[in-house]
Symmetry: C2
Subunit: 582 residues, 2 copies
């Protein structure tokens, strides 16, 4: 046995026991006649003491050679500390060491193994195994484990069955970003890695599994934005014989369970909001509702005056930033620069200070009198002391811009408290989305999503107006889950494929098995998938997902630790019947 | 709400309640004035009754149109059955239907959805979603879920943390059977899918995670034998600061927990056996110890007589088949034919009948007298009534042949009871294995396995004799898990790579990250992986793993349901910078 106790376990009640510990040297202080070592393992830190008088001479000498991150095993007696450390659970005791074995030496680590390390992102990724020793990463991984255990426990208690679906599947034309895998045994043919187990979970419903879930890796070969990974994890769920209401209730239950078990927080019934309302009120289909600053549309009260910028705009819309009437001219100028940055793209910003005395001072006083501005205040819900920020332009664009400004102001005002949780269902998403480049419609959720009852006829005349039985679960401004009631009728699925531009042949070649399945008694069904990486990061109160993934890839999709991807040799290519074409 | 209850839920206590059920038509019997329908869902079967007198006419007419596997929703009253069916939990009641909705019709299924279906393997795989509706498959998947939940609960309770390791990793020369994945973003480079998360779990130990597990898909692109899959699932585990004894104890605990929770069986402490002993006594490193028939080596007592077949053999070895002395001449001839089949490959078989009267009758009476044969009986542990079967030849070959015969006889004698569980640890495996074709040694377990202490020196002189800190968990003649204490020292790992034929450069290119990691305080560590597919099949009392996998592939690695793998189009190949080379 390498150890009798962990480094996080010993208390005053253990005093005078002989114990054996093993772990890493966090740090050591050598005072000549006395050496203190902080010994660390996953469970905590225990102080070791080597004393010239009381420690055997050879052990004392060996202790002098210990460096940071050496792996050692010690035996000794638990004694009460003179100077107790209330900050750590083992702070009442220390170990007076009698035996010391160096299990493995260590080079000086390339960065400090401390909560606030001196290592940059790149070096930490290259030596990720050292980074994982740091509490922020280690605790994030343990936290992730706790979340997934709770997910599994809850869903199992609700009679969901976890079923593993295959990773080696078939590439689809929808799957332009599929990773593919050449098959050695089937020359010239390829598997694809799943972007999600969508069709398989639907087939499980056709197969009568009734309630399915899976915590599963998914893959997408796309250009990576800052916080995306080519492989990511979903909590994938599907239920048969359900309507939207059933699904919302079950997964609201799951989310509430997680908030309760993991964070100790009780949350009220989740509010619901239509997609249209979310866009109108927050400029965004995943609004952060931990704070207000709801949009006030000002066309009625700001147009038809002499201010041409507004008169020519499709939408004039503003928010009231609480307490910001006190901004200096310089601060406001900076804010105007901020909205004019290319990432935001506004051409300018009109502002109105709602002074504490009830008067208004705006950047457009030339065009609007106090009475006009009072109407703006009413529409944006402004109170004395607030700053009304107004943008104008094409509806979709200006909503996105004002949404960005709203989030930025909330950030600056400290309204985005990571320990406050405001979940929200957004429902009634459009079925189709117009790709403005190609002029084609594509499925906003995916091609298997059902339209709302009675809207099928609209598909031919007003495709953009058709609403879907689709819903997102939003938490603190992040989409953490999304799903839909699926089509379970062969004819309706065929109509959908047609509207998405598939020929009958293409639909059959790619999804023939699903269309076939719908002919043999497919039940009504629907589901939802959570993005696990994002969910745990938000529950953990973090902005970025990387610390919640043991071995993440960088923005070029590379694992810099193992140096993958990498070339493979010609023999292997030959076996796979492919060659490079560069 | 589609239903108020499931089809497995209603009992006599529900009589006179109005309920709504939904499910599949298992079968219907139309007696003209009365129609009975068995309605099925995942949870059970409930009998519906449509009665010309009591059921609304339009409902009654609609009920006449119902075919097998139609998906329907019914509302009606729970009534007591006249003829109760004690075989099913809902057998006391039936539903007198008042409303009927056909949710989806069904074509006639290509095979019957019954426990004993008329569908062959191929058609069941093509329509796997229908096959899953059958109890044997459905229950196997639910059983698998229960096993994995128990695994997770147990390991979590032992402070193991489930950590997801990456699927897009790096191909290694050891990995001749890697599936590879071309990277679009890194032209001409490839990821590999993991054959196991071996190096990552070791890095997690270097990273201080202390106790890791993961239920994880692994991939191997090899020619598939009957019961292998290109993607398979492991329960992958690793621990730091452990010796072999610690690992055996923990995973014996896990296995015992599963047998108790899943099967309700208490098992004694698992016996342990060295690899050498297993080979000598069972001709096999995964002996089925639910029955005896241990090998008796007969060289001492059978050689140096006039029987040249034995005299020239490296090994003469026999088993006593209980009660088989009564075999007729014809039965014995058939058995001799059996061992001479190419799959077994024996040149012949000598037999001795140990008659109930204590006399012996053998096929070699010309060469051996009763006293000689009594010695054979002693060596093989034969009792009156047994048949001693003796094979001879080169040691390894003849052991394999006799092992096959032993299993066959056990099968015929009904000694392989699937509801009896006999776990066994096999320990002290050889470190290296000689590839007789190439004359090179390769790692029997894998290149990261440590030799037993003090045996490093033997590597140069007697490589075959070096024993490893490696162990297998065997259950009923199947290896269900295997593992080892790993090397955690850079120098020793370098020596191992050298002996496995890696140049220093190759070792660095492939495993440099691991060798680097060993320099920064790698703790002693070791682990084990269970083959989940096999484990659940054995626990489920089945011979084959296929029913425990929702969507298995066939022997050519194809998913015949979705028809994968498949060709991909030129554009996609171009994006990946590869072309076909056939």
């Amino acid at each position: 046995m390498y150890r009798s106790h962990s480094c996080g376990e010993l208390r005053a009640s253990h005093v005078s026991q002989e114990v054996t510990l093993a772990g890493w040297v966090q740090k050591s202080r050598d005072k000549g006649f006395m050496i203190w070592v902080d010994l660390r393992d996953r469970y905590g830190i225990t102080q070791l003491i080597f004393d010239e008088e009381r420690t055997p001479a050879n052990v004392f000498e060996k202790a002098k050679t210990l460096g940071r991150e050496f792996v050692i095993q010690v035996t000794g007696n638990v004694i009460e500390r003179e100077a107790k450390n209330a900050k750590i659970p083992t702070g009442d005791i220390e170990i007076l060491v009698t035996e010391l074995t160096i299990l493995n030496a260590s080079l000086l680590p390339p960065f400090t193994i401390e909560d606030a390390t001196d290592g940059g992102e790149d070096i930490r990724m290259k030596y990720r195994y050292l980074d994982i020793r740091r509490n922020p990463v280690k605790n994030s991984l343990i936290f992730r484990h706790k979340v997934t255990m709770e997910v599994r426990k809850y869903l199992s208690s609700q009679e969901f069955i976890e079923v593993e679906t295959p990773y080696l599947i078939k590439s689809t034309p929808e799957g332009a970003r599929d990773f593919v895998v050449p098959s050695r045994m089937n020359e010239g043919q390829f598997y694809a890695l799943p972007q999600s187990p969508q069709t398989f979970k639907q087939l499980l419903m056709v197969g009568g599994m009734d309630k399915y879930f899976q915590i599963v890796k998914c893959f997408r070969d796309e250009d990576l934005r800052a916080d995306r990974q080519p492989e990511f994890t979903q909590i994938d769920c599907e239920m048969a014989f359900v309507e939207q209401e059933d699904i919302l209730n079950v997964f609201e239950g799951l989310t509430r369970h997680l908030l309760k078990e993991i964070k100790g927080i009780d949350v009220e019934k989740f509010p619901r909001m239509t997609f249209d309302h979310a866009m109108k009120t927050y400029g965004n289909d995943k609004p952060d509702i931990r704070f207000g600053m709801e949009f006030g549309e000002l066309n009625d009260v700001a147009q038809h005056k002499d201010f041409n910028v507004f008169n020519s705009a499709e939408l004039v819309v503003g928010i009231a930033v609480p307490g910001a009437a006190s901004f200096t001219r310089k601060e406001i100028d900076k804010l105007i620069d901020w909205v004019k940055r290319p990432q935001i793209g506004a051409l300018g910003m009109v502002y109105v200070k709602y002074n504490e005395d009830g008067s208004f001072k705006s950047s457009v006083d030339k065009f609007y009198d106090q009475e006009d501005l009072a109407k703006w205040a009413e529409k944006t819900g402004a109170k004395p002391g607030d700053l009304i920020c107004v943008l104008s332009g094409a509806t979709n664009k200006v909503r996105a811009q004002l949404s960005a400004l709203r989030m930025e102001m909330a950030e600056r005002l400290g309204l985005r408290n990571p320990e406050e949780f405001a979940p929200l269902w957004v429902v009634d998403f459009p079925l189709l989305e117009l790709d403005e480049e190609t002029g084609h419609y594509h499925a906003m959720h995916h091609p298997f999503t059902s339209p709302k009852p009675g809207q099928l006829e609209l598909l031919d005349t007003n495709p953009s107006d058709v609403k879907a039985n689709a819903y997102d679960l939003v938490l603190n401004g992040n989409e953490i889950g999304g799903g839909s009631i699926r089509i379970h009728d062969k004819q309706m699925q065929a109509i959908m494929f047609k509207h998405l531009g598939f020929t009958e042949e293409e639909a059959k070649a790619q999804f023939g098995f699903l269309m076939d399945a719908f002919q043999y008694g497919a039940p009504p069904h629907g589901g939802l998938a959570f993005g696990l990486d994002r969910l745990v990061a938000i529950l953990g109160g973090q902005e970025t997902i990387r610390d919640f993934i043991a071995f993440p890839k960088n923005n070029s999709g590379r694992d810099v630790m193992i140096d993958a991807p990498a070339p493979i040799d010609d023999e292997q290519l030959k076996e796979l019947s492919i060659k490079l074409d560069m």
